[in-house]
Symmetry: C2
Subunit: 267 residues, 2 copies
């Protein structure tokens, strides 16, 4: 069982990911795909005249500022847009994909943050109308039943809160929790970078292996979006996933390459 | 087993539909919800600067002109927008809803029209780049399995063609085929009109009953969007659904009211 998270950023080669996924599924491996839709959401936001906004937490993590209007755009772009493109790409390769947001069948149930802390102009401010949160439980019985019946789940934000509100969640961490809940052997976090870089953005400074004892080093080196990927990798390892790879979704056969050691392997 | 199709037009009271659906499901009835997203698609089209266009067939049916760009907007508005609103409304009432487009798990598989015929300025023209079609098969084993595990499916266009393309399908007829495939007793087509009117748009001219022998009369009286509803009703009856109601989704308890005889009952 493999969980593959693909980024929605420019350069990510969905066709290559789906070619590779189809071969792997045909060979008998159970695969779940998770994705975000960062760029698609930014693009739809701009088309509808709603400028994307981001907040940075006191610990340095950056997230989308998700008020209710942004949430609706995110749902349209993510579940209606990017997700259905992936489903179509898989279906056209003979894979019977089923797209689901974390709200559907409460696939990802979690807790909405009452308030989020953000750094603005050097000061910490509290934001109360944000729809973000973290996942507490994954509906793994349903995912297992879908896999058992030959379907390939394609999952995306938002999740659903215990109070039944849609909540934007980080897709890398959601993929980590999904991998843990399903007892997956491997989690692949594929995006438009080759992996964790010692000297960001110098791609020749790729770190190929991180042992469990070196996790602090990985956290110190991670910048920008890579912070959440490293956090997801650590959470997955701690929850029993044997191997996590942060790898590249731009070249051909990106899943096979990551499984063969390309990218940064955490184990 | 009841299949309820709700329109996405102005005036349709989603909260009332979901209140009623939740009571009916709690009482033990199996329910599948189908919806379109006509108004949501029009509204998103306008927000992104893509004017909605419609075509009228030689037989007088009006459909959305669905080129690839329109299809993408429809998917975002329908699967990402309206569908997730219905899922959220049901979840907040304790119903474990699962939203699916007809592409997901090939719920609705059909045939794309190679060309569509449209009347423009009194002449018949052929359009070749349209993504519309009709449903041939419904994945009823999956829908039954989802219902068996306590989930309530919420289905919407597009369907998927045998060539794996998304195809826009009429949601009333899709609901009719879903009801037939599931062996449902009743199909309710609820929208922002009280039912079939003898003198459209005079709501006091509501026809309360159409016997199987009076179907031709119903077809002659139906105007605009009502034509597809009557067609769906006829197709459902012919495929073995015992009762079809074309009813009103604007007042409270719209499902219960339709089951009790409000609207136009076909049997």
């Amino acid at each position: 069982m493999i969980v593959v998270k693909i980024g929605g950023s420019a350069g990510v080669n969905i066709e290559a990911v789906c070619d590779d996924a189809a071969s792997i599924i045909r060979a008998g491996t159970r695969l779940v795909i998770v994705h975000g839709a960062s760029d698609t959401t930014n693009s739809l936001s701009q088309r509808v005249g709603l400028a994307p906004r981001f907040v940075t937490s006191p610990s340095g993590h950056t997230s989308r500022r998700t008020d209710r209007a942004t949430l609706e755009v995110l749902q349209m772009a993510c579940r209606g847009g990017f997700n259905q493109r992936v489903v179509e790409a898989l279906q056209s390769r003979g894979v019977n994909a089923i797209g689901l947001s974390g709200m559907d069948a409460r696939i990802w149930e979690g807790t909405r943050k009452d308030t989020i802390r953000a750094i603005e102009d050097g000061r910490t401010v509290l934001i109360r109308d944000d729809f973000t949160g973290t996942i507490d439980t994954v509906n793994s019985p349903l995912l297992t039943a879908l896999l058992d019946s030959g379907l390939t789940p394609v999952l995306c934000p938002p999740a659903i809160s215990t109070n039944h509100e849609p909540i934007n969640v980080d897709a890398d961490r959601a993929a980590a929790q999904t991998a843990a809940a399903l007892g997956a052997d491997r989690l692949l976090l594929l995006s438009n970078v080759p992996g964790l870089l010692r000297l960001f953005p110098d791609e020749s400074s790729l770190i190929t292996r991180i042992a469990r004892t070196e996790i602090k080093l990985a956290q110190d080196l991670a910048q920008g979006r890579m912070k959440k990927k490293v956090l997801g990798a650590i959470e997955a390892l701690e929850a029993g996933v044997a191997t996590v790879v942060i790898g590249d979704a731009r070249p051909g056969a990106p899943i096979t390459r990551a499984l063969e050691g390309a990218g940064t392997t955490f184990r």
